[in-house]
Symmetry: C2
Subunit: 418 residues, 2 copies
């Protein structure tokens, strides 16, 4: 049987390389991508072949850069696409959806998708040790999947990460290196370490494989909409990979003839104002983005020098989308808005995305019947600090009816869930 993956290719200059754990072009320093064997894939993939697959991201195995079956993360993905009726009413949108990776198996973020591919590929390459630089969600996911797969693991995080993300990494029995510095410093250290040690760094030397895991987020949206592409997708941007991979996923389904109608999807980048290199470049129509020193409560997307920033900007532009960023205050408001209208508790990155969606809706960027998808990529239990003290308070009572009666009379109660 021929291989699904033919080799690597530079996204900028097109130079080809043999299949290997490499991520940067030697000629032009552009990012490398995996070159898939489309001749083979086109023969094999149909709507039916996908639907007959498992209820996980591995239903798209034919389109992922691995040769064997998944060896870790077999249950990742196929998360709900939620029709957001009540939030839609607040935003004046009749066809609003939330793609909810806040319940992704096993570590409650979209990072489980990229890690499942990266570690399955790491095993194919023969690695016994894996590592990553992370703002938290990736740390959780690499640690969990390394445990599941029996890999040794090293997780590099900024020392000031939220408690939930630290405990939710250590629990898996991994080595956590807490680096005194911001994510960009952590990432630079890891790039150097990647050259020195024989480790599979999921978001460095394994990055081309890792990135392709995000395509499944796009595939799922289209399949769950009944094999059609949405009109608009709003995506939180950190390193800038996810937004372009969702778009790539949609375009691949179009290429395979699996969709009803063309992909006219507009992609929107969402960032926190305190770390907005990508959205600033788009809004100011700058040719390049300027790295920033992050200062926001949305730490999971606080990457001042995004590895795939250029590609993210290009994706937004060529799709006809736009970008917005929001203050930390608006981040918390976004988290609360999604919770009180849809019963979904997302982390700070999700608060960014919801508030950016609101802003874009107010700017009139969506038709009221357009299909709009908000990418919710992580769970609110991981960033409780951000909302603590800003979610109201409990009403203390004694365990008797008189005490309850008194509270019901005197307390300011919420008449409805809003």
């Amino acid at each position: 049987m021929s291989a699904k993956t033919l080799g690597m290719q530079c996204r900028e200059c097109g130079k080809e390389y043999p299949l290997a754990p490499v991520h940067v072009c030697e000629l032009c320093f552009g990012p490398l991508e995996v070159k898939l064997n489309w001749e083979l894939i086109e023969k094999r993939v149909t709507r039916e072949s996908i639907a007959a697959g498992p209820p996980s991201m591995w239903r798209y195995w034919d389109l992922l850069p691995v040769e064997g079956p998944p060896t870790v993360g077999k249950n990742v993905g196929w998360t709900p696409l939620v029709k957001a009726e009540r939030l839609g009413r607040e935003l004046g949108l009749n066809n609003l959806y939330v793609k909810n990776d806040a319940v992704n198996h096993p570590t409650l973020s979209f990072k489980d998708r990229v890690v499942a591919v990266a570690l399955t590929k790491a095993r194919e390459f023969g690695y016994d040790t894996v590592a990553c630089a992370s703002t938290g969600n990736l740390a959780n996911s690499v640690a969990a999947h390394a445990a599941e797969g029996g890999f040794r693991s090293y997780i590099f995080i900024p020392a000031d990460l939220e408690q939930g993300k630290v405990v939710g990494t250590l629990i898996y029995g991994t080595n956590v290196l807490a680096v005194s510095g911001c994510y960009d410093e952590v990432n630079r250290l890891c790039a150097e370490a990647g050259d020195r040690y024989g480790w599979g760094f999921v978001n460095i030397n394994l990055r081309p494989f890792y990135g392709d895991g995000s395509k499944t987020y796009g595939y799922e949206i289209a399949e769950q909409l009944g094999w059609r592409a949405p009109d608009h997708v709003i995506v939180p941007c950190a390193g800038g990979s996810l937004i372009s991979k969702i778009y790539k996923g949609l375009k691949e389904l179009e290429r395979l003839g699996l969709l009803d109608g063309p992909v006219n999807t507009r992609m929107y980048a969402a960032q926190a104002t305190g770390c907005s290199p990508i959205t600033t470049a788009i809004k100011t129509e700058a040719a390049v983005f300027r790295p920033q020193r992050p200062n926001t409560i949305a730490r999971s997307i606080a990457i001042g020098n995004p590895a795939d920033g250029y590609t993210a900007i290009e994706t937004v532009r060529k799709s006809g989308g736009w970008a917005e960023d929001v203050t930390d205050e608006e981040v918390v408001e976004g988290i609360r808005l999604l919770a009180r209208t849809e019963g979904i508790f997302t982390e700070t990155a999700g608060g960014v995305t919801v508030s950016v969606t609101k802003k874009l809706a107010e700017q009139g960027r969506f038709g009221k019947d357009d299909v709009v998808v908000i990418a919710i990529t992580g769970n609110g239990l991981k960033t409780q600090e951000a909302v603590m003290g800003r979610v109201g308070h409990t009403i203390p009572i004694e365990p008797n009816l008189n005490s309850l009666e008194a509270a019901l009379k005197t307390e300011k109660l919420l008449a409805t869930s809003s």
Copy 2:
């Protein structure tokens, strides 16, 4: 079209009642159950009709006590049944599975199942206000689904609940009554309040409907095993409802002729030693259970006077199962064991269930090739306090290679993920 639900019936004396939000028999004070229209259901349900349903618990709509389509919680359930290879090796079990409701949509516990049914039914009964007594997971779920459905809500919790469960309730914009007392006092207050106010108390007057939501946990296990019942299921016990409903679910599939082979499943009750009325009764072969004053870190299952304790005990006995309980130290060990072998981070109740499974395996209660299912019903991010300070520590380094090198040489590193 005839109704799916014919009325209510006392589980003890058999007295019948019309369909209504009532839960206690007037004659004998036994618990009421919903009487389904089996004549209708038998005509309609096949493996194919279920498989053609949505990837949620609502694929079993025909078997649930509601008449209309789900109006809240449409995306609940159909969580992964994980083949636990590495944990299986540690326990000497070749066919060990974890049914993982720690990633249930939307609030990461099996309670989303019961609440989806209870609130869909609450709407059918015409309630605009819902309420519950909760040890945490139910609080999260009722608050989230009330928000999604636009219900007013009142959530009663013991005042000393874990922070994650309080924030993860308030975020949805609900009224949280923090009662100074243990769960059993909270529950007594709610029983009184249920009579006074016209609220739909999901685990009081709506309890018969609520309870049937748990059947889907059993249905899914069997369907995911390829339409067969497992040999053993280990279930954490709090109020005692879940264990009997899983068994009921399996028996219903057998009755409908949907399974390969009979249901010879043995059911095992798991509790923390600090609150073990159910397991103590089983282990001492007592006729009745003695209420206890809870004292355990496993607060989500710390119910000293379980509403369905008798039924739980009866289910274990008639299925040929057994029971065990574990210390708080073992609870933490159980959480860590599941995390480091399978990459799944569960809450304290899950730590109980894993450690009880280990104990039962050591007692030789399972054949090494038997199909054993551990019920993981909630997420570890909700009970971080329980493991904090007991999961190792991060290794502080500066953002340069020399500092990393020094740490790699001097720190005691984990050689593998175990």
